[in-house]
Symmetry: none
Subunit: 213 residues, 4 copies
DNA sequence: AATGAATGAGTGTTCATTCAT
DNA sequence: CATGAATGAACACTCATTCAT
């Protein structure tokens, strides 16, 4: 069977753009409520108030729309959080320690907030990241953009940071922090979750600000 | 989680036990090669050299065998790693620091080794943990057993460890370490992976051994 | 999506063999009545009195069953027609001419009869032969078997046949005869059809028995 | 076959005629490349550089454009080949034999050339002729026009042709020749193809010029 | 106990055609 | 007139599970 695909319509008319948006919103709702594997294109279409064919005009398949959702989510996250974040570098060590804490705390908060706002959706994304190479790739690229900006903030502290390899350090904190945020959602008590986040920030600061062994 | 199902046969005869084992092994192979969602009961049965009906004599469904696999894997892991691990507590601070390093390193190694030996299988488990409540529950229980034993080793150091809440600290290290181990598999260079693990151990030791702020 | 196929069950139990036969018969009926492109797997299954899934247990797809049908048809044809065909070579030229006529006539008759018995089915096969490489290949192989046997009969006449290249001659007659048989079905009058067949036999005999220019 | 449809626009303006032509050309390309059943209206429209809606302004459906293509192709063929073909009837038998050969050869060449120039397209047409009554009807009518003209040429030879029923003879040669031309495309060697064509011309001449048995 | 045949609801996907802009 | 967005019935195919032998 020859490939006849001229797929994934890029809407040019205003109506098309609106429809595309409606479908994405419906997909977010469905994935959140039922999970990626427990919903289907038809259900998404119905929720969006369009025909199944319309879904497939805009997206090649279910995976395609998941990828689009990931892009939209991280774009929103980046826009909301990183725009006006400013770092103040002081001469006072204590001030700097506090400020560093604030940076790390901020990094955690970004992902924590995102996760807390849509935990079910993020869970689906995390699982898909594991299960699918393409989803993994897209997720990685989108997170890398945010990661790069966080790196940039840490660099202002270069003089006060005692770890030698700042890049590896950033990566380590990024991965750990990201996972801590995800894992603590599974804790039942709000108290436990806070304790864990605080502990992580403490660990990160000690690690960054204290001299190498 | 109360299991109301009664169907799955518990083999008592030797032949039954062997058949059950063959099916589990086949399922491990299939999940590893194709992933949980891309495998079906028939494929597992064929690989095990039994009829599809036989599969359903021993397991209620696909999820049931996944749960069984998780139990077997962690039981093996626990048996292999924790049996003869011994900690030496000294009076010398430097020695203790080294020994602490060894403990943390060991903890990392356990999961690192397990992951490295069957990365594809562990990926599937991690994803299922997110996607399915029952799998999550079983995974949590099994890991808790190992976690408890690691905790026990850390407690020997109570006097030399400066963090106040040793339980939260253990949990933090457990989650972070576990995720670091998983994430570094995605790094392409062996060097980068080693660097990240070393960095984690350094962070953990600093965090544990240095006085609270 | 990884290929999980363990398809096209080869029935081992008696029940399976009967079911397979029922499905083939139903497919012949459907293709004959509605044409290959106007029927579907489900309709075939229903006509066979089985579930759609059962259809796909025995055949990978619609094309697969078409191939099977072609094989069965030509096998039957070969069995029915070529078993007891005997050629008598005489010293008398007139007798030989008549006998030759008989051979050519026989060749025509085989395919004519087959076509006339199931014209709608053969039309579908002919069309599929054009449209699909795999079908073309299978059809070619099956016809080649019959062709080879016809060739063998013509060879008894080697001394009385005046064309130099007997193989090309055989092929030419095979292709022409085959197509004449097909084309005349489109003629509305039985008389016209007979006339055309007779004319073809005349042409073939003249061509074969008369000396080269 | 009475066409009760009224939808398809008959363009009168120059722009409309050009658009219609563009769509037909695109359809020819698509049918040639992918085959009739693997092409859809949208693909044709895109290739023609128009909207799908425009396609349906000019043609009622996919079949409609196929019919149009058949008409155009045979009209072109007729125009190109039959316009200036002249037959010279001589008193010399040898000359006449040669001339007859030329006529038959010419007939073959017309279809051979047409087929060779667009084999994939003609295959599609041949298949559609079998599968669809309307296509069959149109094809028959168009070919009949050419056939009539060829007949006309053969009639100049009436005195030198020994077959009684010249109409049946013409038909026979027409069908056989047509199919030979189609079938030899499947032979891999150019040599074999030539041999078969020569053989056919030889057979036709013998048949036509030699006295009835 | 074991087999493997049978089930059928469900899924992703296509495309000829219509219609609002 | 032209556009391209929207439709939705239809189809090929899958697979967890049951059941007759």
């Amino acid at each position: 069977m020859i490939n006849t695909k001229y797929k994934a319509r890029k809407p040019v008319q205003k109506r098309g753009i609106i429809t595309r948006k409606k479908i994405i919103d419906a997909a977010v709702d469905e994935f959140t409520e039922k999970g990626y594997h427990n919903t289907n294109a038809m259900a998404i279409a119905i929720k969006a108030g369009v025909a199944t064919g319309t879904f497939y005009s805009y997206f090649n398949d279910k995976k395609d729309i998941m990828i689009e959702i990931i892009k939209v989510i991280y774009a929103d996250l980046s826009k909301k959080t990183l725009v006006d974040f400013q770092v103040t570098v002081s001469d006072n060590a204590m001030e700097n320690y506090k400020e560093c804490r604030r940076v790390v705390q901020y990094m955690i908060d970004i992902f924590h907030t995102a996760y807390v706002e849509r935990p079910r959706l993020f869970e689906q994304i995390y699982a898909m990241v594991i299960l699918d190479k393409d989803i993994y790739q897209v997720n990685r690229e989108e997170r890398h953009k945010i990661f790069t900006q966080l790196m940039f903030n840490l660099k202002d502290y270069a003089d006060y940071i005692k770890v030698k390899d700042i890049e590896t350090a950033s990566r380590l904190l990024f991965i750990s922090g990201d996972e801590i945020v995800r894992s603590i959602q599974l804790l039942s008590k709000e108290d436990d979750r806070k304790k864990m986040l605080n502990e992580f920030v403490a660990m990160a600061c000690k690690y960054l600000m204290l001299p190498e062994e």
